[in-house]
Subunit: 383 residues, 2 copies
């Protein structure tokens, strides 16, 4: 089968942006068209990954606005929402549009505009994805993270410091990402002494509220060859859910959606966890990087923290994780994050990651919605 390729990508500056969602989407979309050297009238399907433009700024129908703003009409458009993993779901939708033969050239733009709302308001919009009974009791995603972090540290005898080291590593990586929201190193003491948010997690264990957008251009591998030598193929992709009623999970330190979505992706790509050279994980909270690195099969259960302690996941380690800076330092504009993960892997695999460059032929992106409620895993290979 003709595999699906990515031939161009972009991301905007992440951070506090003086631009509305449709402006952010258009900015990334135009840049990706330029990067792929594709004209807007070649785009047949145009997907937008976005969780909540209606809730955040009272604007819906943004894919249609984007088709207008990019002069891509009459390209077919739709919005793909899978809460915080909308970006990964958009990658899956774009992949399906090409793999099914419905579209010869598909663009995905993911974005979110959030910083004009207070942190409490934004957290409440995000919390609306939780089960109504849990929501009613005041549970938000940060509080789930705190409970799970405590359980993980106790169960696997991991030191609190190991969580802090995730933040330190990812901030260090973000220093070399010109698009990152925070380009500043932090030391372990700063992380450990920052204000408590949800015990044992502190401010620096959390990603920020962010505005931003990212875009990708997809086509079949045979079409890709007509455009560029610098393309990557998606060799494996899968999605899966876990119960959104977190208190029903047998073991909250295992993310079933990560296990199941990566099983599908590995099987499709005919690859094993050991084959992965670089990965972008969904470190919305530091604890999530441990859980995903284990549930993806990179490390044994309960040993993800040791890999961070030993530098295995550093940029110069055996398996660099979150070379982009991760959600932690790059920022987390909900609908953009999964797209920006794939942007980073694409850049690494075509050797265009600048100061962040690592030696990699095979990369993986894992995008998590809710508290592991729905997950997409994408495996890419350089050519």
């Amino acid at each position: 089968m003709d595999r699906v390729a990515i031939i161009g990508a972009s991301m905007t500056q992440f951070g506090q942006r003086d631009a509305w969602i449709r402006e952010l989407l258009a900015e990334a979309g135009q840049a990706a068209l330029a990067d792929a050297d594709v004209s807007p009238d070649e785009i047949e399907h145009l997907y937008v990954s976005n969780m909540a433009s209606g809730e955040f700024e009272g604007q819906t129908g943004v894919p249609n606005a984007l088709a207008h703003d990019l002069a891509a009409m009459p390209a077919y458009t739709a919005r793909i929402d899978q809460t915080s993993s909308s970006g990964g779901a958009g990658v899956y939708a774009a992949w399906q549009s090409v793999a099914s033969g419905a579209s010869d050239m598909t663009m995905l733009v993911g974005g979110e505009k959030m910083t004009h709302r207070s942190t409490a308001e934004a957290t409440d919009v995000i919390a609306s994805l939780t089960h109504p009974v849990e929501y009613k009791h005041g549970v938000t995603l940060p509080s789930f993270a705190g409970l799970t972090a405590r359980l993980y540290l106790d169960t696997y005898d991991a030191p609190r410091e190991s969580l802090g080291k995730v933040a330190v590593k990812n901030h260090k990586n973000g220093l070399d990402n010109p698009h990152a929201q925070f380009r500043k190193e932090v030391d372990l003491e700063t992380v450990l002494d920052s204000p408590v948010v949800a015990d044992p997690l502190r401010l620096y264990d959390f990603c920020p509220i962010t505005d931003g957008s990212a875009a990708l251009v997809f086509c079949s591998e045979s079409v890709a060859r007509e455009y560029t030598d610098d393309y990557v193929v998606i060799s494996g992709i899968g999605g899966a859910t876990d119960t959104h009623v977190v208190h029903e999970r047998a073991d909250p330190t295992t993310m079933g959606g990560v296990v199941n979505s990566s099983d599908i992706a590995y099987e499709m790509a005919d690859l094993e966890p050991d084959d992965i050279d670089v990965a972008e994980l969904h470190d919305m909270f530091t604890i999530l990087e441990f859980l995903q690195s284990e549930d993806l099969g990179f490390f044994e259960k309960g040993e993800g923290w040791k890999a961070v302690e030993e530098g295995v996941t550093d940029r110069d380690g055996e398996l660099p994780i979150n070379t982009s800076g991760g959600l932690k330092s790059k920022g987390h504009p909900l609908g953009a994050s999964g797209v920006a993960q794939v942007y980073e892997i694409y850049k690494q695999l075509i050797g265009d990651a600048g100061d962040r460059q690592v030696d990699a032929d095979i990369g993986l992106a894992c995008n998590v919605g809710g508290f592991g409620n729905c997950v997409t895993t994408t495996i890419m290979e350089s050519q």
Copy 2:
């Protein structure tokens, strides 16, 4: 190529429902599983068509909730939003998931819960899909409809009564649809004497605000044969946009999205407009049935109104349109409508449409988002 088939379908009672969105989705989902004789653990992809559960009731992440409520985990889920054509976009997403090989068994559930909000509030949520500049000037979809109806009547010398006859026909059809919100005949005088909403359109030219849900089960044709003889295949499907800046359109009486999406669908199915035996059109406003019936190629431009006057589109006419009662009498729960259109065509093609049954082997559903901003057209054939 193995075509994509529909092997089961359901729709809930449409109208004012004492149930939240996740209850409505689960109700239709369970019924479609039963209709298809498929167990929840066979579902690999589960899509939800929904425009605005966050805006209407502060609940997001509904696909994940549905996977839980149907015991379909770890099925992959995502929400597909294309405003009022979210249902048609969901059909396209489900088609792509099977056609790409990503999923062997896909369920789509479309739904919306709206009636707990006032008509003004609901209209405002819907109007948030318009261009910000048009929105700022108070333009809502009903006002676009009024302006376009006036232009159509003047341009094509059509009598005001012809619009009223769309309402009369569709109410008559809805009388035999047990799921319809309004099961009552209306006469032309009632329509023409109803209160003005957006001149020349009156109350009975508009579809109501509605709660409801509908569901479909998709698989490849070869898999379908293992389950049932009563399946239909999707032989053509396409989607397209038109500018959402309605005042920029060269001719607002032509819906470019309908023209372009149906061109794709006809070509894929290798069919002509004349081949269609029955159609469900998006009669959110009576004028839209004229425009679509022309832009789909059923009638010459400016002559759609004559077809209604002459009874061509009656249930016993040459080309029955909206045998379900249409959005006009059946109701218009945004995310459900495009799914319910396909439900009706499915029922007609397998000969299970009860008192609404017509003689048909090939059917078409046209689902319109915004004021023609984005459109999907689906062509189905009986086996």
